[in-house]
Symmetry: C2
Subunit: 201 residues, 2 copies
């Protein structure tokens, strides 16, 4: 299944076709594909090339590793994410390595990296559903994440299921059309809140 965006202006297929399914098929992800996902995450831009991102990954075939990672998601997310063949956490490191000063862009740059990973997944027919609903302190304890770093998001990775094979209420969510604010609501010109004329403001 592919759930297209309905953009007002043309965008690349990888951007239009990326979406976050609740239903995952019972089909493993090849290790070579996983490596390419991490590789895509690796080549994101970052402030001072700090690369303030880390990932913790667990595959379903490693039962204990998988259930450890699943336990770092909030319960509502565990309900659907347990069907995915691969789970992951992203972790941000807050300070620069070179001088230990705060990196104001750290979480932003983690997002750039996660976005790359997600688009590489789309290019390989895989789907990624990112979650803010995780338990960072549970993850810290379980994986011994040091002070100065913190888990930020969870990822379910795999092949999107046919909604007919997905239990409710998740099938309904997967069938719902994708929606976004119009460009005029967030692309401004000379003043905050006033759309730039480039987007018809």
């Amino acid at each position: 299944m592919v759930k297209q965006a309905n953009p007002d202006h043309p965008v690349h297929t990888l951007i239009a076709e990326r979406w976050s399914p609740y239903g995952f098929a019972d089909r493993p992800v090849r290790e070579a594909d996983l490596c390419s996902l991490f590789e895509a995450a690796r080549w994101a831009a970052s402030s001072y090339n700090e690369q303030p991102w880390s990932y913790i990954v667990a595959r379903k075939e490693r039962g204990e590793e998988f259930s450890h990672l699943l336990s770092c998601l909030v319960e509502a997310n565990q309900g659907w994410a347990k069907a995915a063949p691969v789970l992951m956490l992203s972790v941000v490191t807050f300070n620069f390595r070179r001088n230990n000063k705060p990196n104001r862009a750290a979480e932003h740059d983690l997002g750039l990296s996660a976005g790359n990973l997600s688009l590489e997944a789309t290019a390989r027919g895989l789907s990624v559903h990112q979650m803010a609903g995780i338990l960072p302190e549970r993850a810290r304890e379980l994986y011994r994440i040091p002070a100065g770093s913190e888990a930020v998001t969870g990822f379910a990775i795999g092949y999107a299921a046919d909604p007919d094979a997905v239990p409710d209420p998740f099938a309904e969510r997967d069938r719902a059309p994708r929606q976004r604010k119009p460009l005029s609501a967030f692309v401004f010109g000379g003043e905050w809140g006033k759309a730039t004329d480039v987007v018809g403001g």
Copy 2:
């Protein structure tokens, strides 16, 4: 000019070819291309579909708007970014609209959106150089950005120049190869700091 990554595992062309030039050619960006960049930013994923991102854009042909935006960059970035035909700021909104509670993923999700924009640019032969070096309080004052939102990054957008036409020290930076940490340094398995065997740990 295209400055390829040298990935250890295959990644999509758009990810391998994205880089952040210091030198920009004296060539304007079509409005239709700009709209597609914003459209790509629009379709990023976000926690609760909050879309906590806004953008403020200025084109060189609007002299006053452009110099206003340029003045929101730190001096070292003004030196090279003034050559770009389009400048931009990203702005994050920290709390959810629906309940005014803190959105823990706000800056991360801004990064997802900015990453989409950057890959759409690559697909159109454009380059984006993002900067953490901006003056958020200058931007707040100039654009009347309300409390609860804050400028996070700057963007120079345009066509990368031939390094032979770029003054030093910027040409040298544009000629330097791109470098990243190896996967084993940031993709972990059962424990923090230990590479997963998927990436050869």
